[in-house]
Symmetry: C2
Subunit: 330 residues, 2 copies
DNA sequence: ATGATCTCAGTAAACGGTTACTCCCTCTTT
DNA sequence: AAAGAGGGAGTAACCGTTTACTGAGATCAT
């Protein structure tokens, strides 16, 4: 019994007599044999894994992207590698290099990013380096790159979501909306800010710069910025928080100040994290299809690899989820 | 310039002249060369990845285990594979097989499990199969297996946590505690139930079976079971929820029934998920060191592989976090 | 000057599979 | 009965690295 026979028996792509097959199977069973992926990858082709590169896996929304990626990858017979960068570009560089070595089918980068020149240069490099290695760079939740690069981009409608959220507040009669925006330069910040200002214009409400407080998308920052706004005596009857985490912090600050939500102040978030409905009041927010984002990213990359085509740029829509944190002004 | 020279230059473990090194580096640069892990793994040794096998990545607590695993693995130069089973044993079988093929250094199985005979048989098989492939099975959040198997177990103190939680309620004067326990047979359920009953005994309070409502650890189930308890007219002044998700559901049901928490009913959860502090009232709960669980799992498995030793069984402690959801009875 | 030593590059044998190619044996077909 | 067909097994090349071994030239000691 030669190795070739064993290989063919296990692959099942070549005629093998029933008796031989049985003997092979018995041996496999007895020896607890499993093929060596590395050896297999060296000769016959092996489906490369999908890599997910993310700032931090524990974020309630990012975890859903991860789940989407994992599911779609698993459905297509791929393994998922997940790596956290903790926002360290050097680590990101290392990971991209690693993924080339690993022959990953797709490298999915998730999360907003500051769109400066350095960033664009890095991404361009990643895209071409990965492409040369037969891998595909996928950007999720970030705008496309300028120029003609081998990249797949899966975005969601930040601008539209922010517009809807703001419109909802303005329609309820709120004229002074505290906008807890994101870090300046961050793509999601900018886009949500755009949507916010667009809605103001559409309603003929002036944009008040002093009501636009930028900061990181964290609970703590939401809390601090709201406290600060209150302390500064800013006049507002509603808050549009850049994310649900920020909204959560704002909620805590408002409550501490003895203000009722939505009685005294209305609030809208962004993301629709799982516990948004469990806050009190249940948070009105913009749903982002996080899981879909992950699935789509993998689907597009793999379809392209399998030459079925596959788009290079998709924008998923967001949707306002109305709960109890907004009340109309009399 | 032979391949050997290139290999040695890149490895840096053999004398290479400065001039040759420069030529090699230039070529590497120009061709965007990266080593092929598969080929490397076939000859020289390569550090195997760590595999995380989990029911579902999106759970707020499980995501932290994943983060812990990823971090510890990354710190030790390993890649992390994450796979969801969605509670399908067949999928789990496949994954263990896959991980043997992948030469994973460790396979970490996370989450409580129903400890029946079939389960024990499966785990015993996984343990020996992985061990034979040079891989280590690590069970996280589950009790050890009977017999002498090659397994590493990282548990946390469910019993002690449940004891503390219950003790806290009883000390506050609550005599009738609705216990929203977990699915019967599930290891975490059983252990938390043990701790609960132990605390009752310690306080000389009778265990009332009708106040022990088992069910899945989901928000929906917590909501339904609480509603049902209320509808049945059960007398209780406090709720001990098996998990924070269950507590969240219970909170919603109590609020709907017009009951104030903690004014009318006190409540304690289990897990200390990130948003527990943001519920109103902020949830008193038992903190489980999820991230540590993940880190420890990887650490033990890899230390053992590197022959530094490494324990085979560790129990991490839990801790009651007192917030605002419990009030003492007058 | 000559052998010993050292430095550094090349050769070739693994590593564990897959697969094109070869070849033998049996079963048909005429 | 001889030739052809086809099933089923073995042989060997190849995938991309690493590394023990070989050996050529330079340097050094005697």
């Amino acid at each position: 019994m030669s190795v070739a026979t064993v290989s063919r028996t296990l692959a099942g792509n070549y005629p093998v007599s029933t008796e031989t097959r049985a003997r092979v199977m018995a041996a496999v069973e007895a020896l607890h044999y499993v093929v060596n992926v590395h050896a297999k990858a060296l000769s016959g082709r092996v489906a490369g894994p999908v890599a997910l590169v993310i700032k931090d896996i524990t974020g309630p929304s990012l975890a859903h992207v991860a789940a989407g990626v994992e599911q779609e990858a698993a459905d297509r017979g791929r393994l998922s590698l997940v790596c956290a960068t903790h926002d360290d570009p050097a680590r990101e560089d290392d990971l991209v290099q690693l993924m080339r070595e690993q022959h990953a089918a797709a490298v999915v980068l998730v999360g907003g990013a500051v769109q400066d020149e350095a960033y664009r240069r890095r991404m361009a490099e990643y895209a071409t380096a990965l492409d040369a290695a037969g891998s595909r760079l996928v950007l999720v939740g970030r705008p496309p790159l300028p120029g003609d690069l081998p990249v797949t981009v899966v975005e969601y409608d930040n601008r539209g979501g922010a517009f809807q959220a703001t419109d909802h507040l303005l329609t309820a009669g709120h004229q002074h909306v505290l906008f807890l925006s994101g870090a300046p330069g961050l793509s999601t910040s900018e886009q949500r800010g755009d949507g916010f200002r667009h809605a103001l214009r559409a309603h003929g409400v002036a944009y008040q710069e002093e009501l636009d407080l930028p900061g990181p998308y964290t609970r703590l920052s939401g809390y601090q910025r709201t406290k600060q706004a209150l302390a500064a005596g800013l006049a507002f009857t509603a808050v549009f928080a850049g994310t649900d985490m920020v909204a959560t912090g704002a909620l805590a600050a408002l409550r501490e100040a003895g203000l009722d939500v939505p009685g005294d102040v209305s609030i809208v978030g962004f993301d629709d994290v799982p516990f948004a409905a469990d806050l009190s009041p249940a948070l009105t927010t913009v749903r982002v299809p996080y899981e879909d984002l992950g699935r789509t990213a993998v689907r597009l990359a793999l379809e392209r690899e399998e030459r079925i085509g596959g788009d290079d740029h998709v924008v998923l829509s967001t949707q306002l989820v109305i709960r109890q944190s907004v009340r109309a002004l009399p």
